[in-house]
């Protein structure tokens, strides 16, 4: 498989953390320990929705001390394409799921002298793992976690319990806002900042970092996108000699897979670049939604990331 080695897991425990977040404990189905992962890693969870495959990336929260299970946190999103709804409504204790090997696109920079972790909402999942790893290494760090209100702070109590006064909580309902201009000055040289959360928050924190004179090399973020829908179009795979239709709610990658072609992918969220495919020709306009290709590459019209990007037009011809 293009996504690498797959692991079958069984849901061992489901915890309703908040009204909209469930935490799932995924246990190794074989009884063999699951691979050790570095903080910031994610797995792609593959769900079988009546013959229709849904694959979503989720950051790993932790690995049980015995190595036999991972935890992930899933926010139920109202505009879900099916993945988070499936996890919330169709998955129960005992359900079997298939996950990929952990992949880390959001690693801690181990040469850093200090680490500032910033999370918003469900973006706390990789940050939770990072804070634990930094604590175990006795490295200097601080955690800033913004949530809508106390009831939506899925991880607030645990973070405070584990990291004490290194954690600062911000509640939207109490008009507590992360002030990047207060957080960033006077951090020692060699500090790295990591942010995960809603798009607007990530952009504000990164912009605040640059405004405070931080080099881009010290500013890190991760955002997985759900593939945006759009008008249907057809995709021709030149090497395979296949033409497939991409539906309005389907991603290009999903349509290629449904046509029986094992196309490359890793994160399925526009972040890693594994699925970059050469565009041979197209009629219409390429809609690039990823965070990977450079503006020049996007403008060149010769490359596309099949996981989140699509065509607004009639036909796209790919070198697949």
């Amino acid at each position: 498989m293009s996504g690498g080695v797959e692991i079958t897991v069984r849901v061992a425990e489901i915890e309703q953390a908040t009204a909209s977040v469930k935490r799932f404990r995924l246990a190794s189905a074989s009884g063999e320990p699951l691979p050790v992962f570095s903080a910031g890693s994610h797995v792609v969870v593959s769900m079988d929705d009546g013959g229709h495959r849904i694959r979503n990336p989720y950051s790993l929260i932790d690995r049980a001390p015995d190595g036999l299970s991972y935890r992930i946190g899933v926010l139920r999103t109202p505009n879900s394409r099916g993945g988070s709804i499936f996890m919330h409504e169709r998955v129960s204790v005992g359900s079997e799921l298939v996950i990929t090997m952990p992949v880390n696109l959001f690693p801690l920079i181990r040469t850093g002298r200090k680490h500032v972790l910033v999370a918003g909402g469900i973006g706390v999942t990789p940050i939770y793992a990072m804070a634990d790893e930094l604590r175990s290494q006795n490295a200097p760090y601080e955690v800033h976690y913004a949530m809508r209100d106390e009831a939506n702070g899925a991880f607030a109590a645990e973070l405070v319990e584990r990291h004490g006064d290194k954690v600062r909580l911000y509640r939207d309902d109490a008009r507590e806002i992360i002030r990047v201009e207060e957080m960033l000055p006077n951090q020692p040289l060699g500090t790295h900042l990591y942010v995960c959360g809603p798009e607007g928050m990530i952009n504000a924190i990164l912009a605040g970092g640059r405004a405070a004179g931080w080099p881009v090399e010290n500013l890190h973020s991760e955002r997985f996108l759900a593939p945006p829908g759009g008008a249907p179009f057809s995709v021709a795979l030149a090497k395979a000699g296949i033409t497939a239709e991409v539906g309005p709610h389907q991603s290009l990658l999903e349509a290629i897979e449904e046509a029986g072609v094992d196309a490359p992918y890793l994160c399925r969220g526009g972040a890693c670049g594994q699925c970059v495919t050469t565009v041979l020709s197209f009629e219409g306009e390429l809609i690039h939604n990823d965070h990977y290709l450079t503006d020049e590459e996007k403008a060149s019209g010769t490359k596309i990331m099949t996981c989140v990007s699509r065509l607004n037009g009639r036909e796209l011809v790919l070198d697949l």
Binding site: I109, T111, Q187, L189, G213, W214, E217
Partner: protein, 201 residues
């Protein structure tokens, strides 16, 4: 001019430019590097009251670059008698510096490499250090056999100043050591030594 190499580790020095966003500018310059500092900061004079310049004249002591640099009137100007003393001062400054400080290094390759190597343990990403190569192309070379360092190597092959082997200078570079790697050139046929080329003057 530095020519591009097939060896991936061979450093590339993009040239000095002042980071407008930085709250503080920490400049380490050696020899002819003074001219790169003067060119870059003359274009951004507003930055100078937030700038510290550490300068060591080294080989260009008679050129008066130190006076020209001091005339920029930066917030702090420190004239060091040797690269070693400059690095001691730099280390103290790095240990108390805060984020928002942009580090600049300019001069010979050996000097730039030493500044980068000093900054790495403070968690500074080497990509974030603005560099410009000025002056001699002389290399600091590590003998891969005895691990001894030879400074100011201008020709290849050369004789290791520690173990006496005849070393071919490679573009293979160690950022941690701030040195190129020298490999025995006549290991297979001892005594068969290619002609010496003055490549790094």
């Amino acid at each position: 001019m530095t020519t591009l190499s097939d060896i991936k580790s061979r450093p590339i020095y993009a040239g000095l430019k002042v980071d407008d966003m930085a709250r503080r500018h920490l400049v380490a310059a050696e020899g002819e590097g003074a001219l790169a500092v003067i060119e870059a900061f003359s274009r951004a004079p507003d930055a100078l009251d937030r700038t510290t310049i550490l300068y060591c004249p080294a080989g260009s002591a008679a050129m008066g670059h130190d006076t020209a640099l001091a005339d920029l009137n930066p917030d702090v100007f420190h004239l060091a008698p040797s690269p070693q003393t400059l690095l001691v001062r730099l280390n103290v400054m790095l240990s108390t510096a805060t984020m928002g400080t942009r580090l600049y290094a300019t001069g010979t390759e050996g000097f730039i490499g030493a500044v980068i190597a000093a900054a790495l343990p403070f968690g500074v990403d080497h990509h974030s250090i603005y560099t410009e190569h000025r002056g001699s192309l002389a290399r600091r070379v590590q003998c891969v056999h005895c691990k001894g360092m030879t400074e100011n190597v201008t020709a290849t092959p050369f004789t290791c100043s520690h173990c006496g082997l005849t070393l071919f200078v490679r573009d293979h570079y160690s950022r941690r050591l701030g040195a190129f790697q020298g490999v025995c050139v006549d290991a297979e046929e001892p005594g068969v030594i290619p002609p010496v080329e003055e490549l790094y003057k």
